[in-house]
Symmetry: C2
Subunit: 386 residues, 2 copies
Amino acid sequence: MNNFEFYCPTRVIFGKGTIAELSKHIDKSKKILMTYGGGSIKKNGVYEQVKKALEGYDVLEFGGIEPNPKYETLMKAVEIVKKENVDFLLAVGGGSTLDGTKFIAAASKYFGEKDAYEYFMVEGNVAVDAVPLADVITLPATGSEMNNGGVISRLSTNEKLPFHADCVYPQFSIIDPQVTFSLPTKQTINGIVDTFVHVMEQYCTYEVNSPLQDYWALGILKTLVEEAPKVIANPQDYEARANIFWCATCGLNYWISLGVPQDWATHMIGHELTAFYGVDHGQSLAIIHPRLLKNQKISKSKKLAKLAREVFGINEPVDLKAADIAISEIEKFFNSIGMRTKLSDYDINAQEAAEKIRDRFKTRNVAFGEKGNITADVAYDIVRES
Amino acid sequence: MNNFEFYCPTRVIFGKGTIAELSKHIDKSKKILMTYGGGSIKKNGVYEQVKKALEGYDVLEFGGIEPNPKYETLMKAVEIVKKENVDFLLAVGGGSTLDGTKFIAAASKYFGEKDAYEYFMVEGNVAVDAVPLADVITLPATGSEMNNGGVISRLSTNEKLPFHADCVYPQFSIIDPQVTFSLPTKQTINGIVDTFVHVMEQYCTYEVNSPLQDYWALGILKTLVEEAPKVIANPQDYEARANIFWCATCGLNYWISLGVPQDWATHMIGHELTAFYGVDHGQSLAIIHPRLLKNQKISKSKKLAKLAREVFGINEPVDLKAADIAISEIEKFFNSIGMRTKLSDYDINAQEAAEKIRDRFKTRNVAFGEKGNITADVAYDIVRES
């Protein structure tokens, strides 16, 4: 395996009834800004649980962080943080709320002259200071609750870009799988696909002799394939919900990526689909991923074949044939839990989307994938086939 | 799965040539006490590498921490820390050196009237403050490099007891698998068995619907079984050494134990064998573990059967039969890498050992195992069969 560095100081508090423990983990002297999204936490009881757990604290609120959180929205929260001297951020919601809150945390401590989006996202400067933050995470999907990254969109330029910084690791993340009982099915499905593709981006590259990381990655995929049908059939199945949530967290807490090459091309192309057409993040991955795997089948054949055998129990000794089966099994799995996987399912013209994405990648002069071979033209081929 | 809390702030720096990065991670102002064991680091070049990396720092040294580190020895280091105002401890060596250094770190900040061993180990008070510490770990075995625990012996009372405290997490751990090229075969073997049994203590209990944790545990065991013969055959095989080291670290960094019941009875009985007869820690586990599994076969049969199928590829549908095969395969694996697994191999009288251990457990009024059913009398049966 390759050399690596690992660091994750987030305390994870996982299980039934854990929201009530909030006050154990935040100093009473803190002035808290509680951030959330479109208000679903007010319908499912999480808002009430958090407010009750924070009785006696000085708590301000900032709601309305949208899916694919927008820079323009987040900067309004930054104003509040600066004006009100907020010294603790508590994100209550899904990955978008938490990603947005990480950006708020860093942008609140940024006093440069440039636009914060330009500075952190476009130029890629790494934040070195941030307002301390934590979260009550309500959606198993992005893994944001145990990593130092986020993805932020900018409306004015139709962009969606990622950032990372150690100073935005949540101090703690509270995960009570019970809060997912009331999730709309669509979000449950999006989260499962998101997790699945996160793992693929880190596992499905080329061999570097890292058996342990491979077993873990395959373990997450197997668990998803086994547990997903259970939560679709019975949304109140606590055990299955807990397993799915822990898969989502471990899908992107870097444990499976240590010392191995990574891909992330599906995400980079998918982000553009979301930026141009507004499809959900999970949907964009489900559309692109099978086509990207097909396009890169030869170079990924060993890992795909192992996946076919370990996750789907396929008894096919020839790697390239097993790889084909793996790709079709993955798409079947997505479809089986109700995720549609073609651009046409979303009324998007594949030719037009392919051209738009190719042109954008050409302008930025970027190439993706573990071998840097997903150029603008390769992305064009992948999207056209989707 | 059960509720759990996870926290591990240690930064892991893993790979070839990483010792040279030491100065990136320790502030130049620190007064360092470098701790080590019997001097093997002076033969294998690690001492030189560390000293070179720390040029320009104020570094004191404390050597001679023995395997199964002794309270009596460690208190001499505590005196140095207090007298010289040391404010950073750097353990360079194996798990014993690091465990001992964790104790030094906590005992140096303990100003109570009681004997520190009595206070932390016997009474079980949790340390709340410690001198910051880090390590260059040279032996894949205990996992101490990524956890908050240690095991310390006291000569005067023939005791060997564990302790845990968040304040003794290493700030960072440097793992360069190359330093294990020159390990004596016996230590390589001890470390592999220690890691294997660590995983078993956390995996091999009863089902609580935790598929992900199970896949990880089984992944470590599979990797050990696959990679161990390679390092025995070719001690200079970097890839195999790296995989074994990462297994050792992950075998006890709590990742596989989250939300599941744990056993640790093999360790508790093994510690007594070491305390009474001085056998190596790894040897004590190899002797006790197969007999403990046999004794507890019925209650552990589901996990043992899964292990037989996943790790050893045994195609036996009846759980109890598969469990029997698993136990014998584990002992065969230990033997195949050169580890002897009977008390008689070490000239220890089983009847005498069984009586001594039973009497000690009776005096302490303790019982171990995931169900608390390994009483003094059950331990007697297990040791007599060993």
